[in-house]
Structure formats: structure tokens, C-alpha cells
């Protein structure tokens, strides 16, 4: 991989936010907000320039310290990483704008939270580092940067529910990283390299590799709240402050998914079996049904949205069984790989926009009402037209109605499912959408219902509402550049690839 063109952007994408985070520590609450917002805008601009560079030159790399792998660490932006960085930048900048106004209002009420901005910039840098890294151990370090700063953000409010949920989240995160790291130790011990590209060439199947795959998958599943390790997500995401909930749900969980996707497709091909793909698909399917049902049963807005995250992450796991081919099928003949990949990527992006918008809207409602019990959403349309619209649009994208990004994702997923002949996933997708429609329309029905008792809506800055609405609109706009996006992604080596598993019951069969 070292023959690819080098570029400074990978180093800058991690270095700049950390530099600004460090700098912001020298300021008081107000100064930190200024540096933080400026840092977010700069990082977004930098991300977009970096992506432009990738569209021009293809995959670019950065060999840190000038030491080639396997001894050194290599950062690379391929189209897949570029898309994730772009998603992070676009959603991140809106969340930053929202946070700017949100904390100004909050500061007037209850005092500022000076830790938000440095932690958010550290988190951003960690996510960028995670998307860029090509080294298993470095991925662990970035996971920790992301994990600790994410939990720290989640407990910012200092309320008991947030602290308890935060500790649960943190313990899950540490357990997940340690499980991941054990897998890394075994991989290093059996190959002597940590570089993902090299590992793809040298890793041999065996009991050790299979176990490493197991613990790494386990660790990342805990981190991305995949079923049955979703228990920490709803309390943590619903108890956090609105901008934090948005970035945790929309962005942070995608980091672990990204690593899982990369490692399964680029490293562990030799050890994967058809059954492994089906198994993780089942976990995803249960998550879709269970999460949607739980969301349907909740009575407070943020808990609905948080449980809906469990379900939406389930769809991501359902991509895996499509990418691991049945014995005897070759990658060339599998015409469902491209739709499946498209479904995964679109699910990641559209969920990021829609969920961020949903959580930010919930924050606006809490700000206006002082609570988020859904029965008080009556006559939301009359009081806060923009927020009601944002919730409606985000909800439509989550359900997957056309012409939203969510529709694109679910449509492509169904297309992949039917082309591959794995029809048994289709009812899950449809049931999930139906349940999602259930809770979204329940919210909308309330929003349009005439007010019964007089819940007073306190005035909320229009700018907050506009940001939430823009994100919701964004989850629709992402459909338009679809052709360009897929074409761009197809220039990446990993996009559209599938695993031809070793024969079942072979020497290193399914154990």
C-alpha cells in the first residue's frame, strides 16, 4: 500500500482538532465556545478539501514518522474512509452550530459547561483517526479516545440518571476495547504485523484466527450496541444533553461499525463462514424488531429516539449476511454485492442525518417544555412549526419512505436480499419499517392534535430549530448525488467486495 500517493491531509485531519482542543483549554467558558465552533468549522472545511483531494487523486496515504509498516503506522483515506469523514464533518458541523446556541441559552439558565467543546473536538479527532487508521493497535487507541470522550460528554449534565447510564456505558466500552485488544494480541502473535493491508495477505485460518475474530467482533458489537449488547445505549443516549445525544447516536456508534466492516471484509475473509454472516444478520434482525418495538412502547421522546437507534443499527448488521457468500457462489456472479454495500453506506449516512435531527428536535422540545413526555407534544405544529417539520422529515427518513436517504438504504437492502435469494430477511426489514412508521406517526398524530391542557411552550431560538430542520432536509438531499457517490465508492478496493468463505466442515470449518 506504500506505493500510493502521499498527502498531508490524514495527519492534519487528526492533528488540527486536537491542536484546537488543546488550545481551547486555555480559555474560559465563553472563549472555549468560540475556539470550539471555529475549530468545528475549520475541521469541516479541512475534511471537505481532503475529500476533494481523494476524488482527484484516488486513495492517499500518510506514512507516520516515515517508517513503513509493519513497524510504522500508516494512515490512508480511501473513498470509503472519505465518505465516513464527510458524513462526520457535515453532521458534526450542524451539531456544533446547534451546540453553540444551545449552550448560550443554557448558560443563561444554569451556567455553562466548559468541558463540552474540548471533549467534542477530541472526539472528532478520534473519529477521524479511526476512519483513517490502517493499524489494528492504533484503532484501539482511537477507539479509546472516542470512547472516553463520548462517555465524558454523556455525563456532562451531572444528573444521577446520566451518571449511572454513563458508568454503564463506560464499563461496556472498556470491556469492548479489551476484548478487541485481545484479538489484536492474538493476531499480532500469529502474524507479526498490525497493518490491515498486510494482514489481508498473510493471515492464515486456524483456531487462533477464529478466536481472534470472535473476540474482536464481540468487542466491536459491544461498542456499537449490537444486539444483545445494546443494553447500555438507550439510557446513555437518552440521558445526555441534546447535542451530545445527537452526536453519540448519529456518529459515535458508527465508528465501531466501520471497524467491524473493514476488518471483516479486509482481514478476516479467511476465517469467515456463511454461518457467521447469518448469525450476525440474526443479531441485526432481532435488534431491528426489538428496538423498534421498544421505541413504540416508550412514553418519552428521547427514549423513543434512543431505542430507535438500536433498531437502525440492526439494519447495518443485516448487511453482513449478504456480503458473505454461500459456498459455491463466486464474487463475480454475486450481483447483489453493490446494492448491499450501497444499502450499508446509505443507512449509515441517512441515519446520521435523521437521528441527529431527531435528537436535536427533542432537545428543542425539552427546552421549550422542560420535559419530553410525548403527551405534551399536542399542538406542536401550532407552537413550533419548524421543529414539527424536522421531526416529520427525520421520521420519514427513518421509516424509509421515498424520496429520503432512508428509503434508498432500505430499498437497496431489499434489492440485495432478493437478488441474493436470502428472502428470509425481507419480512424483518418490512416489519421494522412498519413499527418505525408506528411510532413516528404516533408522534405526528400528537403533533397535529389540538391542544387539550395548556402546556406553555417557552420561546426557543429559531436558529436551533433551523439547524434541526436542515439536518432533516439533509437526510433527503443525500439521495441526489447517489450516482456520483456510488461511482466514487466503487473506486475503493473494498466497496463491492464479498467474502467467498472456506468450505463448511473443512479443516478449519465453523468452530
Amino acid at each position: 500500500m506504500t506505493h500510493l500517493p502521499t498527502s498531508s491531509f490524514p495527519a492534519l485531519l487528526v492533528g488540527l482538532p486536537i491542536l484546537l482542543a488543546t488550545l481551547s483549554l486555555f480559555f474560559g467558558s465563553k472563549g472555549r465556545a468560540v475556539v470550539g465552533l471555529a475549530g468545528s468549522l475549520l475541521t469541516t472545511a479541512l475534511s471537505l478539501i481532503a475529500i476533494a483531494e481523494v476524488t482527484r487523486r484516488g486513495t492517499v496515504i500518510h506514512i507516520l514518522g516515515g517508517w513503513d509498516p509493519p513497524l510504522g503506522i500508516l494512515l490512508r483515506i480511501d473513498p470509503l474512509a472519505a465518505v465516513f469523514i464527510g458524513m462526520l464533518a457535515l453532521v458534526g458541523v450542524f451539531i456544533s452550530l446547534y451546540a453553540w446556541w444551545y449552550f448560550r441559552v443554557r448558560e443563561a439558565d444554569t451556567g455553562g459547561l466548559p468541558q463540552f467543546w474540548p471533549l467534542w473536538l477530541f472526539l472528532w479527532a478520534g473519529m477521524n483517526g479511526l476512519f483513517l487508521s490502517n493499524d489494528l493497535f492504533n484503532l484501539f487507541v482511537t477507539l479509546e479516545v472516542v470512547g472516553i470522550s463520548a462517555v465524558a460528554l454523556a455525563v456532562l449534565s451531572g444528573k444521577t440518571t446520566a451518571l449511572t447510564a454513563g458508568l454503564r456505558y463506560l464499563l461496556a466500552a472498556i470491556t469492548g476495547s479489551m476484548a478487541y485488544l485481545f484479538g489484536v494480541a492474538l493476531i499480532y502473535g500469529s502474524t507479526g504485523t498490525l497493518d490491515i493491508s498486510l494482514l489481508g495477505q498473510v493471515l492464515e485460518p486456524g483456531a487462533t484466527t477464529t478466536f481472534a475474530l470472535l473476540v474482536i467482533t464481540l468487542g466491536l458489537m459491544i461498542k456499537m450496541a449490537g444486539f444483545p449488547f445494546h443494553f447500555w445505549l438507550p439510557p446513555a443516549h437518552s440521558a445526555a444533553l441534546a447535542p451530545v445525544s445527537a452526536l453519540l447516536s448519529a456518529l459515535v456508534v458508527k465508528g465501531a461499525f466501520y471497524i467491524l466492516l473493514r476488518l471483516w471484509m479486509e482481514v478476516f475473509g479467511v476465517s469467515l463462514t456463511y454461518a457467521a454472516g447469518q448469525l450476525i444478520g440474526v443479531a441485526g434482525a432481532v435488534a431491528v424488531i426489538w428496538g423498534s418495538w421498544q421505541a413504540f412502547m416508550q412514553t418519552s421522546l428521547k427514549l423513543i429516539v434512543a431505542h430507535s437507534s438500536v433498531a437502525q443499527l440492526g439494519y447495518l448488521l443485516m448487511v453482513f449476511p449478504l456480503l458473505i457468500l454461500a459456498p459455491g457462489v463466486t464474487t463475480d456472479s454475486a450481483d447483489w454485492l453493490s446494492p448491499a454495500w450501497t444499502a450499508g453506506i446509505y443507512q449509515v449516512i441517512s441515519h446520521a442525518f435523521a437521528k441527529a435531527s431527531f435528537f436535536l428536535s427533542a432537545g428543542i422540545i425539552i427546552m421549550a417544555l422542560g420535559h419530553d413526555r410525548i403527551e405534551s407534544l399536542r399542538n406542536l405544529v401550532g407552537n413550533m412549526r419548524i421543529t414539527a417539520m424536522a421531526i416529520g422529515l427525520a421520521g420519514v427518513s427513518l421509516i424509509g419512505l421515498p424520496p429520503s436517504g432512508g428509503f434508498m438504504a432500505k430499498w437497496m437492502l431489499l434489492k440485495g436480499i432478493f437478488l441474493s435469494g436470502q428472502w428470509w430477511w425481507a419480512p424483518v426489514v418490512l416489519t421494522g419499517s412498519l413499527l418505525t412508521a408506528g411510532y413516528v406517526f404516533m408522534l405526528l398524530r400528537l403533533a397535529f392534535a389540538p391542544a387539550r391542557e395548556m402546556d406553555t411552550f417557552r420561546p426557543v431560538p429559531k436558529s436551533l430549530e433551523v439547524v434541526a430542520l436542515l439536518l432533516a432536509i439533509g437526510s433527503f438531499l443525500i439521495v441526489f448525488p447517489a450516482d456520483f457517490l456510488i461511482q466514487f465508492l466503487e473506486s475503493s478496493a473494498v466497496f463491492g467486495s464479498g467474502i467467498e468463505p472456506i468450505m463448511e466442515g473443512g479443516e478449519y470449518g465453523n468452530n
Binding site: L71, F137, F140, V141, E144, G147, I148, V151, A152, V155, G158, T160, L163, T164, G166, L167, R168, L170, L171, A173, I174, T175, M178, A179, L181, F182, A185, L186, Y188, G189, G192, F231, P235
Partner: protein, 100 residues
């Protein structure tokens, strides 16, 4: 059996003790200790492989990784302790309630 194998087998045992402990124990502090035991197991496996791959000196890369890992683990454990103590201070709880 070689020296490194004693320790790599130990590392697997410690890892499983730790991961079991995280789920089985109730007290916050014990859960934190369990994650650190897990970490101890992971680091031991790294270092045992380093000893196996020694030439004139042991493989320095796992040693460096373990030093990094220990510091990272301690940072997260310190944060976990802070959370646990805050929760105890606010509610008097020493474990997660099961009603969720």
C-alpha cells in the same frame, strides 16, 4: 512447554476471569477491577509473544503497545472510579439496580 506458553495460557485465563467478572460482579469497584484484570490478561499475552519472538532482545513492539495500553486502561479506570464515586455520593448506590 516453554516459558511463554505458561504465560500466554495464563493470559487467556485472566482474560476470561475478567470478562466473566464484569458481567457477574455487582459492585461498581469490582466491575472496574474486573476490567483491569481483563486488561492484565491481554497485556500478558502481548508480552508473552514478545518473549517468544526474542532475538538479542525481546520484541520491543508489544512492550511499547502494552505500556500504551496500560496507561490508556488506567485513564479509563480513573474516570470510571470518578463516576462510581459520584453516583454513590448522589444516591448511595453501589451497584446498578436491576429494574431496568
Amino acid at each position: 512447554m516453554e516459558t511463554y506458553q505458561i504465560y500466554s495460557l495464563t493470559s487467556a485465563v485472566l482474560f476470561v476471569i475478567g470478562i466473566g467478572g464484569v458481567f457477574i460482579t455487582r459492585h461498581f469497584i469490582k466491575k472496574i477491577i474486573a476490567t483491569m484484570i481483563m486488561g492484565g490478561g491481554v497485556f500478558l499475552s502481548f508480552v508473552s509473544f514478545a518473549e517468544r519472538d526474542a532475538l538479542t532482545f525481546a520484541d520491543p513492539v508489544p512492550h511499547a503497545l502494552v505500556i500504551t495500553g496500560i496507561v490508556v486502561a488506567v485513564a479509563s479506570a480513573a474516570f470510571a472510579l470518578a463516576l462510581a464515586r459520584r453516583i454513590y455520593q448522589q444516591t448511595g448506590d453501589i451497584s446498578f439496580s436491576n429494574d431496568k
